[in-house]
Amino acid sequence: MARTRILFLVWCMVVLTAGSAVAETVGARLKVVTSTTQIADFVRQIMGDRAEVVSVLAPGADPHTYQPTPDDVKIVLQADICIENGIHLEGKSWMATLAKDAEKPLVTATAGLEPLHIGSGDQTIMDPHAWFSPRNVALYVNNIMKAVSDFNPENSAEYQARTKLYLQQLRVLDAWVREQVNQIPPQRRILVTTHDAFNYFCREYKFNEKNDFLSIAPVGWSTGAEVGAGITPERRKMVVQSIRESGAPAIFVETTINPKQIREIAQETGVAIGGSLYSDSMGPAGSAGETYIGMMRENVLLIVNALK
C-alpha cells in the first residue's frame, strides 16, 4: 500500500514537471480578439496555432445591433491585440470602445479600402460589408498579416507564408465564383436579400444591373437605427416593384436576420425563397459556412441553383 502511494506521488511530480513545461509553451500563444467571425477566420488562417483567436460575435449574431456584455469586457481585457472590421459595421463602434476601455491595440482590417458609397444626395453611407468581394478580403488579410507581424516580428516569416497560401485560395475562390455565376443568364441575375449586405458581391459579379449593380433589399445597410438603415415603406415598395419588373425567380433570407420581411414579400410577389444566405456572420462550427471560403461557396451554390 505504502509503495503504491509513493509511486503515485512520484507520478504526480513527473506529470506536474511536464505540465509546467507544456503550460510555458501554450502561454506563448498570442490572444487575438476579433469583432466578427469572418475576421476570426482570417486571423486563424494567418497565425495558425500561434494564436488563440476569439470572436466577440458568436456565429449568427448581428454586428449592427450587438450590445457587448460583461463577458466581452473580460475577453478583451485578456487580449494582446484586437481587430475590427471598421466602416461602422460594429454598431456604435462597440469593438473600438471595448479595446479603448481595456487599453488594447486595435487594428481596423479594412484600412486602405475604398468603400462603396450607397444612398443618394446628402445621405450617402459607406458600405461596411466589404468581405463579400474576395479581392477586398485580400486587403483584409494583408492588413492583418502586417499588424500581427509588427506585433510579433519573430514569427513574421511564418505569417507571410500562411497568408500567401490563403491569398491563393482566395484567388481560386474568386475564379470559381465567376465561373458559377456565369451559369445564370445576365437577365436573371437578380439578387434580392433581407438587408443591403450584398452590394460588393453584386458589383463584383454583376448582379442587379438595373439597380446600378447594387443589392436590392427591404432593410437598409444596417439592421440598427443609423442613417439609411432599417426598413421604410419606400424601400419595401421599391423591392416589390423590382421583383415584379425583373421577374426574379427567387429571393433570399439571411442567417442573421429575422426572415419575416422577406417571407411576406415572397408571398406578395409570388416568388420562391431561394434559401438562407450567410451574411453578417459565418455559420456555427461543423456547418458548411464555418469558414469564410465555405460561407461564400454555400451562398454562391444557393444563389446559382435558385436563379439559373
Binding site: R5, V10, L139, N142, L167, A175
Partner: protein, 166 residues
C-alpha cells in the same frame, strides 16, 4: 521517511533527464558538419521567360516591403529580381549570363499572376535556359483557370559542356 524517499526518486528522475539532455547537447556540439563543395558551371547561359499574358497588379498578392507578389523567380533558392512591367504577353524576358548554375541538379522556381480579368483562361510561362542558341532547358509551366502560374523545373548541368563547344 516516505517523503524523503519520494524527494530522492523525484531528484533521480529529473536529474537523470537533465543529465541526458546535457550529454546530447555536448555530443551534438562536437559533430563537425562539412559543407559540400559545389562546382559552378563554367559556360555562359541565358535565361528566357515568355508568358502568355501581361503582368498586371495582382489584388491577391502578398504585400510586403520586399515584393509586390506579381512575379517571383528563384534559381537554386536564390531570388532573381524581375521587373513585373517588363513581362509582356508573348515577349521573351531575357537574363544574360545567368549566375548560380551548379554542376549536377539545379532548379528554377517561377511564380507569376495572370490578370484577374482573364481568370477564365489557362495561362503559361515558357522557361528556357540557353547556351548560345541551344536550349539546355525548355519547359512551360501552366496554370489552372484563375490560379497562379507556378512550378519548379529541375534539370542537370555539367561543370563544362564540351558537346556544344565547336
Amino acid at each position: 521517511m516516505r517523503f524523503i524517499l519520494t524527494i530522492i526518486i523525484w531528484v533521480v528522475i529529473v536529474g537523470g533527464l537533465w543529465s541526458y539532455s546535457k550529454q546530447r547537447q555536448i555530443v551534438e556540439a562536437s559533430i563537425v558538419r562539412q559543407n559540400p563543395t559545389i562546382a559552378k558551371v563554367e559556360d555562359v547561359y541565358s535565361l528566357l521567360l515568355t508568358p502568355t499574358f501581361s503582368i498586371e497588379p495582382d489584388p491577391f498578392a502578398l504585400q510586403t516591403e520586399n515584393t509586390d507578389g506579381a512575379v517571383e523567380l528563384r534559381l537554386n533558392g536564390i531570388t532573381i529580381p524581375v521587373d513585373a512591367d517588363s513581362l509582356r504577353r508573348g515577349k521573351p524576358w531575357i537574363l544574360d549570363k545567368v549566375g548560380g548554375l551548379v554542376e549536377g541538379q539545379n532548379e528554377i522556381y517561377v511564380e507569376a499572376s495572370p490578370p484577374i480579368s482573364e481568370s477564365d483562361l489557362e495561362h503559361g510561362v515558357r522557361v528556357q535556359v540557353l547556351k548560345g542558341e541551344v536550349a539546355a532547358v525548355d519547359s512551360t509551366l501552366w496554370s489552372k483557370q484563375g490560379s497562379l502560374v507556378s512550378g519548379t523545373i529541375h534539370f542537370e548541368m555539367k561543370a563544362r559542356d564540351d558537346q556544344h563547344d565547336h
